[in-house]
Symmetry: C2
Subunit: 360 residues, 2 copies
């Protein structure tokens, strides 16, 4: 079809304190399959107050998962799936509580619990064969848009690429701005900037329409309130807004695309394991010729919040490493096409991409 | 639950020309139930080009329905349901093509095809007992938000009230801005103003949060571009925007409420049969003391597009008629509460409401 037919999150709860409704929300699902839920939670919360508010039942399996420093891998999902199925069979559903990586793990796990073989088989668009099980996302950082997207990004032995299909989208998300209050300042900034960069890239390219612009521009407006204006900073009011900005930034991409920063970011992350949002920030500061206004505003926000980004990384990279990074980025033609139009192949050559990496 | 858990439209297609994807979109559903679709289409399109682009199959039932001057009634839905079931049994799905009234008919019909007895039994929140069948909406006017809402408003012998539950929400909408290009100018204005008034009412009240504000304020921004700014008017670019504004205005109400204008509008429509969007406009012009900035802007838009609204209607209304109208409006406490806060019962008395009607 020419026009995308996009799958929404089935149900959305938004509001301060709404996390306390988790148990009620999943109660009607508890008779499905082997009548238990799997929780996947960012290890960051182990021993923290949130770990006492999980509302889990004794039969549930609770996994605290370390997503630092590495992003989710295909191997990790396959192992977790095998362990869960051999322990207790098919669960009623998966509940993910954490940042973008945990959202991706919950989405991927839901699919891989019903699809046989390694998740590497399904990296790409519409390769998944059967619907996954019920999955619910509770984001504790805001910005990646993973709570709303139809992709579960995994790093495999060969590629960093999502399991992407309608069934990837969450059945339920609970958006409780209280949960993002405790994000350390630097990660509050990096993850929030993921939305900001999504929207700048989404706006500046050829694959736009009024839908993506309306969502993207409102998300940018909210980002400016959270990160740039007089009342900027980690306040409850701004947490409320950032959570909506992340959702809207994600929806903006439904009818648009990310661009140069994300294409480079995938190369940086795949070869060096750099976390996605952080990688975006490291790169975006150097793209003023491509996104002049966006990078100007970004640098103002960097200054305002006294964020220090690593510099001169490329000193350590030899030609071989640069080629590996550039190859990953080069193989994301949709992003380059969106950013540079029909003649993108003439512009975004391997040499050009390597030169962009040399700026870092 | 304290925080609403709202049901999204399952799938959304947006874009110029996307209506041509209708047949492809429903193809996978054609094996459901008795393997045929019911089309409900605004009679306005009978003999017009759109009626040759329906992409229906010979087995489908196609109903052109006159929604002028009256809004959908419970009796109408019950009769249509009975006729469809006796003719061909349970359809695979219902496809609605038209404005807000047709959207309401498609939603109500989908529910009443599986729920026994009269639709008057189900007017209210969560009274429907079984999920309806697949239903797809193709709006041809923009503004009511009926394409996204969880209610199918019906006028019954006793009340004008929606069938309201998660199952009311469309499984699919196709948003093709080309379809709203032919709306006559006055109805383009009235229906568009429904979104504008939604957002003014949603913003000015006690039941707000950052979600409803972000959606409502962006819808207002789009309305200003469509109806107020230099480039205002019925242009393709503005049709693109108005269709998104309607969706966002509807989503703004998810975490907020309409207010005084809608409360009065229900009274006017129930007693005099005035169409919803038109009734809103007739009323809103007189509410400057309640929504000062909104009414100012509304009057600028009225002037810009040379819309003439009826005046001095209340001359014809005796005390008995005013009491009937005010009773309908009085019995919408959520709207008055949202608009006036906790002391709303002291403000929005029957006498006060009658006085508001006397302004018309």
């Amino acid at each position: 079809m020419t026009h995308k037919n996009f799958k929404n999150i089935d149900k959305v709860t938004y509001g301060r304190g709404s996390f306390s409704q988790l148990a009620q929300t999943v109660e009607p699902l508890r008779n499905e399959n082997n009548k238990y839920f799997v929780y996947v939670i960012d290890n960051y919360f182990k021993g923290k107050p949130l770990s006492n508010q999980l509302q889990n039942k004794t039969e549930d399996l609770v996994y605290f998962i370390d997503v630092d420093p590495y992003e989710p891998t295909t191997q990790q999902i396959d192992q977790l799936r095998d362990e869960i199925l051999s322990k207790k069979g098919l669960p009623s559903g998966v509940i993910g509580i954490g940042g973008g990586s945990i959202m991706d793990i919950a989405k991927a796990l839901s699919l891989m619990l019903t699809n046989e073989g390694s998740s590497t088989l399904y990296q790409g668009l519409n390769l998944i064969k059967k619907p996954g099980i019920y999955h619910l996302g509770v984001p504790t950082t805001s910005g990646t848009g993973a709570e709303v997207s139809m992709t579960a990004v995994l790093t495999g032995p060969e590629k960093k690429l999502g399991l992407k299909c309608d069934w990837t989208v969450f059945n339920q998300v609970i958006l409780d701005p209280e949960l993002i209050a405790s994000v350390p300042k630097d990660w509050w900034f990096y993850t929030g900037m993921d939305t900001y960069i999504h929207c700048i890239e989404s706006h500046n390219g050829i694959r736009n329409n009024a839908f993506s612009l309306a969502y993207g521009d409102q998300a940018l407006h909210l980002c400016r309130e959270v990160f740039l204006n007089d009342k900027a900073g980690q306040t409850p009011e701004n947490d409320d807004k950032l959570m909506v900005a992340s959702l809207m930034g994600g929806l903006s991409l439904t009818y648009s695309e990310v661009g140069v920063c994300h294409a480079l970011s995938y190369g940086l992350s795949k070869i060096h394991g750099t976390r996605h949002c952080f990688a975006n920030c490291i790169i975006f500061q150097h793209l003023k010729d491509i996104y002049p206004e966006g990078v100007d505003e970004f640098n103002q926000m960097i200054k305002k919040h006294r964020i220090e980004l690593p510099q001169n990384l490329s000193k350590e990279w030899n030609e071989d490493v640069l080629t590996q990074m550039a190859t990953v980025s080069y193989n994301l033609p949709f992003m380059w096409n969106h950013a540079f139009g029909d003649k993108y192949r003439e512009i975004a050559t391997m040499d050009y991409i390597k030169d962009l990496f040399r700026r870092l």
